[in-house]
Subunit: 192 residues, 2 copies
């Protein structure tokens, strides 16, 4: 399939983002999204459970990548190295296409409190996934929680940066995670 | 007002938690809550905007306390000390009454995805409030973000612990925050 012939899922995402931007998320019906994409409602529902899924679909995949990244880190890796492996692993899911939608997707979410709530819970879920995976590697309970939160901060800030700059997410995330660790050291030293 | 004559707001909270536990959050109407509390619907709406507010009302007050705690820390205080001041300040809002409702409130929230989403966004808001207050003290941007996340982790874990043990939240939170910082040091050292 060539560049100018995106598949149904992609057409639905683009149509939905267009409509959400034009007339608001609340005012957009699934039927309109399908129509704009030149597809049927039943095609929509083969790809997405509901309207919200257009914005949040694919996040289970990212969570699975984070998990696999941690599980696949070398046996000798500590919590930091394992979290870094998760950030590198997730880059496979952060495609150029995803980046192209990123800013508009974020704008739609920012404009609706229920979507912001959903996004927040998803982030909590990412941290919990990483913490659980670290515990399964034998990282002590609280250390796993801390490492996951620092990793999430790096993920989140790295994602924002990547939306702006593009390029390889793994590289951006690695650099951001190094900055987060340096800032953490500064915070702890300032508190002694 | 004596112990056995709680005020209207408290009666409404208790009635709501009873009903949510008995028949589910979704199946409970405001009218039922008012009736169970022996009050009118209009009294309910003088205290709460909607049904969800019964569970989340009072959180703006906690956020204000966190903010005031950071703003009121000594000028010489670093980020860690300022976050600790926030955790101590918030203890004024964590009353014995609040503790008594805590486990049931948590159970209701755990059973409903929309409530979990709301709770997650509230937590994100707490971290953002602390980070902003730290930045206003001149703490560098990323360090403020990190310190706020570590503080939130301590708040959250300290809260769980306090629900179980009771006592002064300030003392529990201080101890938990010290543990979080020790775990953070261990994570960073393991990653060198």
């Amino acid at each position: 399939m060539g560049r100018w012939e995106p598949d149904a899922r992609e057409r639905l995402v683009l149509a939905a983002l267009d409509l959400f931007s034009e007339q608001g998320y609340e005012n957009t019906a699934v039927a309109q999204i399908a129509e704009r994409a030149g597809l049927t409602k039943s095609t929509f529902f083969r790809h997405f459970r509901d309207k919200r899924e257009v914005l949040f679909g694919g996040q289970e995949v990212l969570a699975e990548m984070l998990k696999a990244g941690i599980a696949g880190a070398p046996e000798s890796a500590g919590a930091v190295e394992a979290v870094e492996a998760a950030l590198v692993a997730v880059s496979a899911g952060l495609t150029e296409e995803r980046r192209a939608h990123g800013p508009r997707r974020r704008e739609v979410i920012a404009g609706n409190v229920e979507l912001r709530e959903r996004e927040a819970l998803k982030m909590v879920g990412f941290a919990a996934t990483m913490a659980d995976s670290l515990r399964q590697r034998g990282v002590p309970e609280l250390e796993a929680g801390v490492a996951a939160e620092l990793g999430l901060l790096a993920f989140w800030r790295g994602y924002d940066r990547w939306l702006e700059t593009g390029g390889d997410f793994a590289e951006v995330a690695r650099r951001t995670f190094a900055e987060v660790r340096a800032a953490t050291t500064a915070v702890l030293e300032g508190g002694e």
